[in-house]
Symmetry: D2
Subunit: 420 residues, 4 copies
């Protein structure tokens, strides 16, 4: 990615960093502390960790005589970089009441000022621009996690506090009555990221894959459709489940997607706008891979592979422009949908039946960044597309998200496929 004007980088930096803080606007200090499950991180930890990233990887290396805000915080805000010193056990994050939210905001301001000083120097800005962009992309990943983690924290409180009155989750789906499919013929297709815009190491290795002819739905599965699965006893019949999924259902007594509650005989769910009746026309979300897979079997179809999904997306969906500057981070989904476009982006992450494994020619970086993606390439499944919580610059056909098969706390949904 080539940035010709320093001004853009500095402005993108500000916009992105401010966006993160503004996501915490509706919270109380107390909301920013807890970690109810291991997947969720405390919001104030997200704020500190994304700041630590700039301090640790940029300021302490590139800023002359940089004085750390507080060296003992390194131990607290490192996430999983084994190369960057000892870190707190992940499950203890939720017990760290200090540094407090306001101290972390002060930390952010301090680092932001130091960063802006760096960025006004064009020579330095050029030298560090790749690190800055990585830091901002990283920040955006944590913006998304902030939204999902806040939802978990509030949605598991018996008082069901509202995050924002206006619905920031996705709206109704078009044309949900029929099952329309897009058809793609047999052939060798190209997979992965190509170009010089920002992308992660796990998307590199632009390569070829042979696909057998298939068809894939032109929309997502809705709550109405998933409800039929529930009502047909889908959660009580082992036939539809992977063996491990069936154990999971029985052990956790799963009966519906996360945040669904049956009240007075009617299904409700918690959304960021509060507790409400399930919107039947919205895409189903907060389902695990196990649930997505079981639903597909019940429909006598299957989940697409990540290669099938990416190929269909590249063929049928309008491209999301990847701007050179990141000012667009203020705009979030939903991406405007035109009548003639098929939608593969920005509603829910879509489970694929592909394991998260390295692409051909993938090389893990030798330094700290080598820990970014490569070491997680096992026992997870790939998700594609991006959700309502995903910042624009993270939305592209080649982006590979990945989670374990039992995770429900992300905005994760279902699209089906079949061989022809």
């Amino acid at each position: 990615m080539i940035i010709t004007e320093t001004i853009h980088l500095a402005a993108s930096y500000s916009a992105t960093r401010n966006k993160t803080v503004s996501l915490c606007g509706p919270l109380r200090e107390e909301d920013t502390v807890v970690q109810p499950i291991v997947d969720v991180s405390p919001p104030k930890w997200h704020l500190g960790h994304s700041t630590w990233f700039f301090e640790n990887f940029i300021l302490s290396r590139f800023k002359k005589d940089y004085k750390h805000f507080n060296k003992s915080w390194n131990y607290i805000f490192n996430s999983y970089y084994e190369s960057q010193g000892e870190r707190i056990l992940r499950t203890n994050r939720g017990n760290l009441t200090r540094p407090s939210f306001s101290e972390i905001i002060t930390y952010r301001k301090y680092v932001d000022e130091q960063m802006q000083e760096l960025l006004v120097d064009e020579a330095i800005a050029l030298k560090i621009q790749n690190w800055v962009i990585l830091g901002l992309q990283h920040e955006m990943q944590h913006q998304e996690l902030l939204v999902t983690d806040i939802k978990y924290i509030l949605g598991n409180n018996p008082l069901f506090p509202i995050y924002k009155e206006q619905d920031i989750e996705f709206g109704a789906m078009p044309n949900t009555t029929g099952e329309d499919f897009l058809e793609i013929g047999e052939g060798v297709y190209e997979i992965g990221f190509k170009g010089d815009a920002f992308h992660y190491d796990n998307e590199t290795g632009y390569h070829k894959a042979f696909l057998h002819a298939y068809r894939i739905m032109d929309r997502l599965i809705t709550n109405a459709e998933f409800l039929k699965f529930i009502e047909a006893g889908g959660y009580e019949q082992y036939q539809f489940w992977l063996s491990e999924g069936w154990e999971w259902v029985k052990k956790h007594r799963v009966k519906a997607p996360l945040y669904w509650f049956k009240m007075d005989g009617c299904w409700h769910n918690y959304t960021l706008s509060g507790f409400q009746k399930v919107d039947l026309s919205a895409p189903v979300t907060h389902v695990s891979f196990f649930e997505a897979d079981a639903f597909a079997r019940w429909k006598e179809m299957r989940l697409p592979t990540e290669f099938e999904w990416e190929t269909a997306c590249k063929l049928f969906s309008p491209e999301i422009p990847q701007n050179a500057n990141l000012l667009e981070t203020e705009k979030y989904s939903p991406i405007p949908r035109t009548k003639n476009d098929f939608q593969f982006y920005g509603e829910v992450w879509e489970w694929t039946n592909s394991s998260y494994l390295p692409y051909p020619y993938y090389k893990q970086d030798k330094g700290a960044l080598g820990e970014y993606n490569g070491k997680f390439m096992i026992n997870q499944m790939v998700l594609k597309g991006g959700s309502c919580a995903t910042p624009y610059p993270q939305i592209r056909a080649s982006y590979r998200n990945f989670f374990q098969t039992d995770k429900q706390w992300q905005f994760s949904g279902i699209r089906l496929a079949q061989y022809l």
Copy 2:
């Protein structure tokens, strides 16, 4: 307990309730949320639960047309009263970010105003005074827990935040060089609470116990003495440990009391005034029953029984006056020590070798209060005396505290005994 003047009850109510809030003064909102171990409750939960006690057991029963502050909070602030409706799982308390600290303070004010309205009516005050006193005693138990739980929350943060600059923990012990003992002859002694002042159901059943002749130390074991046990390899030799204690030591790799850390070859510990070198002349504290028992074996002595402790205390220690009004709750330990008195109170809780079992004639109350003590009378050991965190009105010879044998988070220490 007979209260002749309503004014005292109202004043005691104010004093006690205010004291609780003032204990949270040095905290940030964030500190009031978490529950790092199951024994610890979030400070804001203590504030809410002790308020719920007055609302649930007094206002909703005795105040005409009482309007609940928020009925849905019952589920959150009930502790373990099975009779009082469904309650949140204890291990989830630390994930409840709402109601927030400030909402709970508002709740306290609301309930306090309602309570004061009740208390000005002498007829009603007379009728409810036993409930009010129980509520205030209950509040004081939670004041003590607040202090110990705050210590745990701050003392397990790698930043070791200071709670209060001036040492609120105990000071140096007198006469720690020798081992002086008090001797008590064989005979039948009287045990339990006698009189009409406030006391708990587990102290009732004033009864007789036969004691064989014994001697008991006239002071507590100091850090210096416990350090010798550590240095003699006490934690590495199974001979000194109960079988279950030895498993506990190995499983948790226990090497010292809680909050002790070896730094640069020197033992430090976390106190409410911060991280410091271990004060050798202070009584050892934050030891589990297993550690107290192992130390006693290493010294070729034993822990006293609760009956021996109580008898010695009644014979040799000055009585703590149990005032009719509770204004004294503002005064905390240490209790002034005169040269001629032996000290059995208000430094650390002292482990005894008595299991927490019912006294003869003990009858569990039929109602909600029956759940107060009786149902915990198994697999716990009795502690006597009261600590630096214990409010005055909880300190008396017959008070029975009780914890499981592996607990260290209370201010718990050691006094030794022997048969003659």
Copy 3:
């Protein structure tokens, strides 16, 4: 214990050792291997361990040039004697298929021959007699465990294999329709073992205890009476349960004593003679302390203390003669019951409401035997009386058995008491 004739010791040795092997007579080799729960030991381990006791504590010390059968077996057959070298983790016992049953039988024969050689020498026999008697008493404790462990192994097999056709469990209780009580007045009573016959260290420390006046049932609670508790919803009402017991009931979904199964609307249970309808007139057994305690609360009574039980037993029950020779080990319960005697022995172990703690003056032995009892004196409750599986020489008023409060696999039952 004084043995005047060597012949008796040798004969007792043979009788006791043979009895152990004969208890395994009805088993297949496969039955002798497994350890379905941590409390149960594999039958072949019992056979090896009790033999190791003689080899390790007697032969290797007192027999000149004694050649170990197989030195590497020490690691396998040590139980919990930390002083006797590393031992296999207890939970792994059930995975050790070798040494095989027949190899262990050969081991027993080898050790028995070596022991008989020792015992014919009067001088040596005199010197080692206390060790031999301890070994035989230890062997008898394992005979009892063999019976209870075999019952668990067979009783948890869906095929419910029969151990012995004739009922070796207890028969019907006399006079079960009424609730007759024995009354004992207030006073200081003497507790513990007195005399020079064999006894364990935990019974020593003959001492005094003050008892308040009480009454105690002259018989055990029957299955019929316990069934009423079940039918009254006793397992579904928290009021009757200790807090920890209530957690246990909910976690394990306990609905009846161990080995009880409801089939076609009717309660059956597994006995050593097979699967059958519950015998309503037999004493209830295989209940945990939690169940015994809950039953007592439901009846608005309580369990006796161990001191109350022992005092009543000494006052009202015929003494079991403790013969100088142990040939009586072949005779097992039931002890003949005469019309005029009250029965406190040999039906089921009776839960008391006393914690297992040291008696006054108790001193733990310094050597390996010090590990026999003392280190288990925590978080267990005392049981008195002895069951149908208990060898005669283990049955006496002062014998203290002890188990954790959730254990059901022993023959454990209920007798109730009240204060007058």
Copy 4:
């Protein structure tokens, strides 16, 4: 698979079934009972389960008036077929001492006689031949598991019993000094089983895959090579490990392959022929996927995908003839190796970097057989090639074995690959 002569089927049946029993020849009854880890099944369970397969799927359906040997055994010997009725919890298999080994041998004889009666009738034999062949293939899978499970049972006994004196594990590797690679060019290759011989449903879906040009070792990694990884501190450096693998190493303190023990400074391992010094020239085995992957990273290479492995195997390795009759089951590996052949079979199972997922067009069978493979297609990795414990008829290029990434108890080893 077409069988023209009934005689072959009957003879194959006998040969295969006898082989299974003969594998248990060196065992004691006790060895056949236990289940030390959840992956291992008791040998006598394997004997019963493989017999139940014939009874349940063939005799009870196709034999007129077939009388079950014992209907209650169904519950015990069903493995994971949810459709075939309730089954015992897998972790409880190791506590079932009955039916005994000899009873199961009787069961085998009974079923074998009944099967032979069926097989002499040509009309029926023709009708059931596919089921019989599946049953025999299933039996051979359990033969392999028998060997690996026996190794685990004996190899975790501190006495390290010998299974067979002569080494039945693999011998030395040829040419282990250099690192020779086979090169394969970019292109679309054909994957999966083709033909009418027996194969499993997970191999069907003969399809195309695009491979980028790569090279693959012409032999397996040896113990000598793996030892260098150990000595270079491979187990102590997070850089070489997947994140989940690193947790596994730390949690279980893994320091070497399973069955390796350092004694007197020298590495030994347990083999079926006993405890011995590690044979440096033999292929490394009993490594988990995590270890195989870490080793590959340390060598700066990677594991091949299952598609790369299969393509190389088909191009360079001699085919194993898949005989129409199964009499060959008596012959086990090693497969004779000629100078000019490259060896891809029958030494150790080779971990690939492919997840176990369905092939294109894969359809899960609707009946009980649908549970055979499809429901395990998640969170496991594919292994290719077959080990010294694998019967001939299971060895073919398209055979897909699969295990979780932490499993070590199979004979599993390493072959490396690279992109060109």
